[in-house]
């Protein structure tokens, strides 16, 4: 499918105001947590025949303590922005694993989740957990403690 989309909608760069204050975030328990700075609202005012809303993320990851770390990340969606009870995982087709083994690795994690086009406004965020408490994972800074604010871009395609 080929279609044309206005520049201002495609380039709708979302910058979450709270993201500027994001501190480093450790994941070391078996509880799934929100990834700080990744929650954004996106309104589709006119779909322009687009098929998808893109959730595009860039997040710094740091080596801290473990040489063998893995984290499981998934996209959540709030279909009614006035009702937090509607926040739910988008399910098994919106999941990624990031894992390194036996090394001291800093990296920038990137990815794109495509949600079928909708009308109105919805809220999205990433949630994550390591596999177990022995799999330590740190986000939003490198191993020299330099901070890197997560970047979330949303646009229609």
């Amino acid at each position: 499918m080929t279609f044309f989309i206005p520049t201002d909608d495609r380039n709708n760069l979302i910058y979450n105001a709270s993201a500027s204050a994001v501190s480093y975030q450790n994941f070391y328990s078996t509880t799934q947590s929100d990834i700080d700075g990744t929650e954004v609202s996106y309104e589709v005012k006119n779909s322009f025949n687009a098929s998808y809303v893109v959730y595009d993320y860039t997040i710094q990851q740091a080596w801290q303590e473990d040489l063998d770390s893995r984290i499981y990340i998934e996209l959540w969606q709030q279909t009614d922005v006035n009702d937090s009870s509607t926040y739910a995982s988008l399910g098994a087709s919106y999941r990624v694993t990031e894992k390194f083994d036996n090394q001291r690795q800093d990296n920038v994690l990137t990815g794109k989740f495509l949600v079928p086009i909708y009308a109105g406004i919805r809220k999205f965020k990433l949630r994550a957990r390591p596999r177990d408490s022995g799999s330590y994972y740190t986000l939003h800074m490198d191993s020299s403690y330099n901070r890197y604010t997560p970047i979330i871009k949303m646009y229609i395609f």
Partner: protein, 178 residues
């Protein structure tokens, strides 16, 4: 003079998404030469503008998940962009520095990650529709084995849900730049 305050670009965006991808199993016994990566194929022709000029560049963009198939397998691979001018019967590498390697060596490894791939392609000799797709071969043959598109394991807030079909939908996009 009156300007339109909402300018529609004409960069001819094309996007393909596979909503129910099957895992592509990459293993040393069969993938030591370049093989096609599933769901990364797209047909595209550079945009021609109203003044008759052609786009100078095309962006080829794809995003795929790599994940191990056991706790000890690795994802080391060499990747390249390929093109076909005969509707997919034969494929040749695009060239022009569109090859790269992903992963690490020896005992260190990246066992799972998303690959966000973007190439800026010169359209100087590109006038008709081409098929494009990514290809890969294993960088090393010892211990290198992985799946594309499917998570090996997954733990959510309820615990181990690895038995579900946990996937990352592969997507491929092209658009033109004047």
């Amino acid at each position: 003079m009156t300007y339109l305050n909402k300018c529609y670009n004409n960069n001819k965006i094309k996007i393909l998404v596979e909503n129910s991808p099957n895992a592509q199993h990459i293993v040393a016994s069969t993938h030591t030469s370049f093989t096609n990566i599933t769901y990364t194929e797209i047909d595209y022709k550079p945009q021609t503008y109203i003044d008759g000029s052609k786009a100078s560049f095309v962006i080829y963009s794809t995003s795929i998940l790599l994940d191990q198939v056991s706790n000890s397998s690795k994802t080391a691979g060499t990747y390249r962009l390929a093109k076909s001018t005969d509707n997919g019967n034969t494929w040749v590498e695009w060239g022009d520095n569109t090859n790269f390697h992903f992963s690490t060596w020896e005992n260190c490894s990246i066992d799972a990650s998303v690959l966000d791939i973007n190439f800026c392609l010169d359209t100087a000799s590109w006038d008709d529709t081409l098929k494009l797709q990514m290809q890969l071969k294993l960088k090393q043959t010892v211990g290198a084995e992985f799946n594309i598109h499917k998570n090996y394991q997954f733990y959510d807030q309820s615990g181990d849900v690895s038995s579900a079909n946990n996937v990352y939908k592969p997507k491929v996009m092209c658009w033109s730049i004047k």
